[in-house]
C-alpha cells in the first residue's frame, strides 16, 4: 500500500499528473473513490481486496477531465474500460496513466495504450467467479423459468438510472432513454418500460461491456443487472471473438462482420 502511496506522491510531486483517482476507506469498511490532488492527501489511498469498483467511470466526466492529467488505480476491468474508451475516442491516447498493483505488491505505471493492451492480454477474464456461476445457473434454467426470474427482478426497478450513471461505458450525453422524438421508451417505471430499458442497455453494451459489474453494485434495489450486459458481451465474444476492451483501436463486433458468420435461426 505504501508503494502505491509513494508512487502517487511521486507523480503529483513531479507534476506528471494532477490528480490520482484511487480508493479510500468509506463508511463501514467499504471502499469509495478518492480524488487525490495533493501530496498531503496520498495517505488516504488504500488498496486491498475490497477495492473492486471500477473507477474508469470518472475518466470521461468533464469536471474530472478539467483537473488535468489523470492517474487511475486500476483493476482488470478499469484497464479494459480505459482501452475501450480510448478506442471509442472518449479518451485521448496517453491522457490517463493506469496504476496497477501487482500480486507481489509492486506498482506498475502503464502510461500508454500499448502498455495497457499488453498488460490486459496477461489478465484472466474480469468476470468474477460468483457472477460466472450465476450466469451458468440461469442458463441451466428453462426459458419459462428465466422469464419468470427476470420478470421478478425487473419489476422492482425504479428507473433511477444508477446503473447507467455508474457504467464507465454509459458516457453518452443524450441517452436513447431520454429521447422523446419519438419517445422510444416510456419515462415512468413500468414493467414493459423496465424490460425495454434493460434490453436496450444490454444491447448497447454488447461488444462494449468490460464486465466490471459496477451497474449491479450500484443498483439500490439489488437487481443483478450486470448479468444482462455481461451475458451480451459473452454472446459477442462467443460468436465473433471480438471482446471489448482488449485494444485501443476500434474492433467493435457489431460494427464489423464476416461473410461466414454462422447462425442457425435465419430461415
Amino acid at each position: 500500500m505504501d508503494v502505491l502511496r509513494n508512487k502517487a506522491r511521486d507523480l503529483l510531486a513531479q507534476g506528471q499528473v494532477q490528480v490520482v483517482i484511487g480508493y479510500e476507506a468509506g463508511t463501514g469498511g467499504a471502499r469509495r473513490p478518492s480524488f487525490v490532488r495533493s501530496e498531503a492527501d496520498v495517505a488516504r489511498l488504500v488498496w486491498d481486496a475490497d477495492c473492486v469498483g471500477n473507477l474508469a467511470g470518472y475518466l470521461t466526466r468533464a469536471e474530472i477531465k478539467k483537473m488535468g492529467k489523470i492517474a487511475v488505480v486500476a483493476n482488470a476491468a478499469t484497464l479494459r474500460a480505459l482501452l475501450q474508451l480510448t478506442a471509442e475516442h472518449q479518451l485521448a491516447e496517453g491522457a490517463v496513466s493506469a496504476l496497477v498493483v501487482t500480486e507481489e505488491g509492486a506498482v506498475l505505471e502503464l502510461s500508454n495504450a500499448q502498455a495497457v493492451t499488453e498488460h490486459v492480454a496477461t489478465l484472466p477474464a474480469s468476470l468474477s467467479a460468483a457472477d460466472r456461476e450465476k450466469l451458468d445457473q440461469l442458463m441451466a434454467l428453462s426459458r419459462e423459468e428465466r422469464r419468470a426470474f427476470w420478470e421478478q427482478e425487473l419489476q422492482r426497478c425504479i428507473k433511477c438510472y444508477a446503473c447507467r450513471s455508474s457504467c464507465p461505458m454509459c458516457y453518452c450525453g443524450s441517452c436513447t432513454m431520454d429521447c422523446n422524438r419519438p419517445q422510444w421508451v416510456p419515462v415512468a417505471s413500468h414493467e414493459m418500460g423496465n424490460l425495454e430499458y434493460h434490453t436496450v442497455r444490454a444491447m448497447h453494451l454488447a461488444g462494449r461491456c468490460v464486465e466490471c459489474g459496477e451497474c449491479g453494485r450500484a443498483c439500490p434495489v439489488g437487481i443483478p443487472i450486470h448479468l444482462l450486459t455481461c451475458y451480451a458481451e459473452e454472446s459477442v465474444r462467443r460468436q465473433f471473438g471480438q471482446p471489448a476492451g482488449t485494444s485501443a483501436t476500434l474492433n467493435y463486433a457489431l460494427g464489423t462482420f464476416r461473410p461466414d458468420d454462422q447462425e442457425t435461426f435465419i430461415r
Binding site: E88, H89, Q90, Y171, C172, G173, S174, C175, T176, C179, R181, P182, W184, H204, L250, Y252, L254, G255, T256
Partner: protein, 663 residues
C-alpha cells in the same frame, strides 16, 4: 395539423375485386390529419393524376398518400404528379394495396381491413415526412483508365473522343497488353498487331489523353464524381522528353540474358529495353534488377551511347496526384503457368508450353519470326497436341470456371500450325467445343474439315518424355474411354485465364468487390454488367472474367458510354434519402458522442468525423460526419447509433415509430 389527401385506386378490377375500395376511402376520411379522401378507377392514368393535382390545389393539401400498386411500380409517377401541383416530391407516399393485399388475399372484410391499415401506415408516415431536395454533387469531368490493353485503349479513346480528359495508367513500359502479344486473331485471322498498333498510336497522340506508362495506382480516395488518385510513376532511368527512341542504347547494353517477358520467356533481352518494336511509347526502360550499374558494377555504356544524354541513372519514382470523376478498371488477366500442372511435368518439359507462348512463336514479330519451333532444340515440331481446358473446369487443381477464350484460340493455333507447316499433325484434346459467336463455329469446323485438325474428346491424364518425344496419354470418350497415346513434339496447354497479378490489391484500393475467383465483380450480372459495386467505377475486359477481343471492345465502349454520360453533367443529382448526424444548440452541439462506432459499419466509407470549433478555433466536440455524396441510404449506421444522433431521411425514426404505433 396536417392536411393530407388519400387517393385510393381500384386499378380496374385488380384492387377493386377483393378490396372494398369505396369503404377504404370513406374510412380514411376519418383518420386524423386527413383532409380529403377519394377513390378512382386508374390513378396512374392522366385523368387520375390530374385528380390528385386538382385535389392538392382545391384542398390545400400538404401531403399525399396514394393507395394503389407497389411503390416500386409507380412511386416516381405519383411523386412527379405532386411536384406538378407544387408539393415537394417526398411529401407523397404509396400504400401497396395491390401486390401486398388484393392480389394475395381473398375478397373478405379482413382484406379490406388490411387495406385500411396499409393506408394508415402511410398516413402516419407522411405526417412526419419533410420536404427533401435532391442532392447535387459536383463532378470532376475527367476519367482515369487503369490498364493499357485493348480494353483500356478502347475505353480511353471513346471517352477522349467525346471531349473529356482521360488519364491512362499502364503498369508495363508500353501499351498493348496481351493483344500486342497475339499473332493472328480469330475468327478472321487478321494480324493482331496490325489492327492494334494504330489504336496505340491514337492514344499517344490524342490531345485529351495523358498516358502514364510504367506507372501504377498507389492510392484512391473520394467517391463518384470526385475521386482523388495518387499514381506512382516508376523511374525508367530514361528522360522521356530527351529520348528520341533511336535505340542506340539498346545495342550497347552488355547484359543480354534477361528472359523477355513480352516473348513469354522464349527469348532474351537486354537490361535496357523496349518491350517490342512497335511499342508505344517508344522509350526504353532500364530494368534495374538486371542492369550492371544498379547491381554495383561499373557500366555506363548505354549512357555513353545516348546522343541526347537521356539516360538518367538517378531518376526517382514520382507520385502524381490527379482528380477524376470516373474510373475504368481494365486490368486484364494472366494465364496459369505450366508449373501448375503436376501431371504435365510441373513445367520441367521445355516443349510443354502455354497458348500465349505459342502465340509468340506464331507471331511474325516473335522470337522465330513466325516459324513454329519448339523451345528444347529449335526444331519445327511435326506433331503438336493442344490441350483445351488446361486448368479450367478443374475443381481439383485449377479453377472451376470455363476460361471461355481457349476453344477458339486452340482451333486457331491448330489451324496456324497447319497453315505454316502442311505436313504437321495437330491434335486437340477437348471436353466441349464452346464456339458461340459470330462466325465462331464455322471457324472451328474449318479447322477440322479443311485443315484436318484431329479433335479428340477427352482429357489428358499425363505427359512424359521418352526418346525426345512427349508421350501424351489421353482417352477418347467417344470411343467409350479407349486410351489414346500420341507421341508429340510439342504440347500446347490452353491454360486457364486467371485474374491478373495485383488485381486483389487494386480492388481493395478502389473498394470494388471481387468474385470468389478474384475477378472484379459487376454491380449486377445482367443489368449492370460494366459497373462495379462502387458508384463511378466501371469495368471493361478480362478483369471481370475471361473474354475475347470483340466482347472486350464492346464492353469497353459500354463502360466509356457510362463514363461519358456521367461526365456530361456538371453535377450529379442523387436521391436525398441519406443519413445525417443531428445538430443541436450549444453546449450539446449534437447527440453524437463521437464514438465513431458507426464508421466501420458503413458499406460506403461515407462516415468520417468533423470537429466543432469555437471562434478561436478550439475544438469543442468531435462528431461523426456523413458525406451525402457517398451515403446510399441503407441506414445501417442509424440502427447502430446508441444516442439516435443519426437519422435517415425518408425512413426516419419518427416515421417508422409512427408506422408501428399506427397498427
Amino acid at each position: 395539423m396536417s392536411r393530407l389527401g388519400v387517393f385510393v385506386c381500384h386499378c380496374g378490377e385488380n384492387i377493386g375485386a377483393t378490396v372494398d375500395v369505396t369503404e377504404v376511402a370513406e374510412r380514411c376520411k376519418h383518420m386524423p390529419g386527413v383532409a380529403h379522401a377519394e377513390d378512382y378507377k386508374y390513378l396512374c392514368s392522366n385523368p387520375g393524376q390530374n385528380k390528385i393535382k386538382q385535389a392538392i390545389e382545391e384542398h390545400q393539401l400538404d401531403g399525399v398518400v396514394v393507395a394503389a400498386c407497389s411503390p416500386r411500380m409507380h412511386e416516381p409517377t405519383f411523386r412527379r404528379a405532386v411536384t406538378d401541383a407544387g408539393l415537394n416530391a417526398y411529401m407523397c407516399e404509396v400504400a401497396n394495396l395491390r401486390e401486398h393485399c388484393s392480389w394475395v388475399h381473398e375478397k373478405a372484410d379482413s382484406t379490406t381491413e388490411k387495406a385500411i391499415d396499409l393506408v394508415r401506415l402511410q398516413v402516419e408516415k407522411v405526417k412526419r415526412n419533410k420536404p427533401l431536395d435532391t442532392i447535387q454533387v459536383p463532378i470532376t469531368r475527367s476519367a482515369l483508365v487503369i490498364g493499357g490493353g485493348i480494353a483500356g485503349i478502347q475505353a480511353a479513346l471513346d471517352i477522349a473522343d467525346s471531349g473529356h480528359k482521360v488519364i491512362m495508367v499502364e503498369r508495363s513500359p508500353a501499351l498493348g497488353g496481351h493483344m500486342a502479344q497475339l499473332s493472328e486473331t480469330f475468327p478472321t485471322l487478321d494480324c493482331s498487331q496490325c489492327i492494334l498498333t494504330p489504336r496505340m498510336v491514337d492514344v499517344s497522340r490524342h490531345p485529351n489523353i495523358t498516358l502514364l506508362t510504367y506507372s501504377e495506382v498507389e492510392h484512391v480516395e473520394g467517391f463518384i464524381g470526385n475521386f482523388k488518385v495518387a499514381i506512382r510513376k516508376r523511374a525508367r532511368m530514361v528522360d522521356e522528353d530527351l529520348c528520341t527512341g533511336c535505340g542506340e542504347c539498346l545495342q550497347k547494353c552488355p547484359t543480354k540474358n534477361v528472359a523477355d517477358s513480352f516473348n513469354e520467356g522464349l527469348s532474351m533481352r537486354r537490361a535496357i529495353y523496349v518491350p517490342f518494336a512497335q511499342a508505344v511509347p517508344n522509350i526504353p526502360v532500364i530494368d534495374t534488377e538486371n542492369c550492371r550499374k544498379f547491381q554495383g558494377k561499373k557500366c555506363d555504356r548505354c549512357a555513353k551511347a545516348c546522343p541526347t544524354k537521356a539516360i538518367k541513372f538517378d531518376q526517382k519514382d514520382q507520385i502524381i496526384n490527379v482528380e477524376v470523376g470516373a474510373i475504368v478498371v481494365a486490368t486484364g488477366y494472366q494465364v496459369m503457368g505450366t508449373e501448375r500442372f503436376p501431371e504435365y511435368g510441373y513445367g520441367t518439359y521445355p516443349d510443354v508450353i502455354t497458348g500465349l507462348q505459342f502465340e509468340r512463336y506464331a507471331s511474325a514479330s516473335g522470337p522465330t519470326q513466325g516459324v513454329i519451333k519448339r523451345p528444347s532444340d529449335g526444331k519445327e515440331p511435326e506433331t503438336v497436341v493442344f490441350l483445351a481446358c488446361s486448368g479450367s473446369r478443374d475443381a481439383a487443381k485449377g479453377v472451376k470456371y470455363c476460361s471461355k477464350i481457349c476453344c477458339m484460340y486452340t482451333a486457331k493455333h491448330a489451324m496456324l500450325l497447319k497453315h505454316k507447316n502442311h505436313h504437321a499433325k495437330a491434335y486437340v484434346f477437348y471436353m466441349d467445343i464452346r464456339s458461340a459467336g459470330k462466325n465462331y463455329d464455322e471457324f472451328v469446323r474449318r479447322a477440322i474439315e479443311e485443315d484436318g485438325v484431329k479433335y479428340i474428346r477427352g482429357r489428358v491424364s499425363r505427359i512424359y518424355e521418352e526418346d525426345g518425344k512427349l508421350i501424351v496419354k489421353g482417352a477418347d470418350t467417344l470411343l467409350g474411354g479407349e486410351p489414346v497415346e500420341i507421341k508429340a513434339d510439342m504440347v500446347v496447354l490452353a491454360s486457364a485465364a486467371l485474374p491478373n497479378h495485383g488485381q486483389g490489391e487494386l480492388a481493395q484500393k478502389l473498394h470494388v468487390g471481387t468474385d470468389p475467383y478474384g475477378f472484379v465483380a459487376e454491380a449486377h450480372p445482367k443489368l449492370r454488367p460494366v459497373e462495379t459495386t462502387s458508384a463511378g467505377i466501371f469495368l471493361a475486359g478480362a478483369c471481370q472474367s475471361p473474354r475475347d477481343i470483340p466482347e472486350t471492345v464492346g464492353q469497353a465502349s459500354a463502360a466509356a458510354a457510362k463514363v461519358t454520360a456521367l461526365l456530361s453533367r456538371s453535377h450529379l443529382a442523387r436521391e436525398p434519402l441519406v443519413a445525417e448526424v443531428n445538430r443541436k444548440p450549444a453546449p450539446q452541439f449534437s447527440d453524437c458522442t463521437g464514438c465513431l462506432l458507426c464508421e466501420t459499419a458503413c458499406p460506403y466509407q461515407a462516415i468520417g468525423h468533423e470537429e466543432i470549433k469555437d471562434r478561436n478555433g478550439n475544438v469543442l466536440k468531435t462528431v461523426a460526419k456523413i458525406n451525402p455524396g457517398l451515403c446510399q441510404g441503407c441506414g445501417t449506421c442509424v440502427s447502430l447509433c446508441r444516442t439516435k444522433a443519426i437519422d435517415l431521411h425518408g425512413y426516419s425514426n419518427e416515421q417508422i415509430f409512427a408506422e408501428i404505433m399506427s397498427l
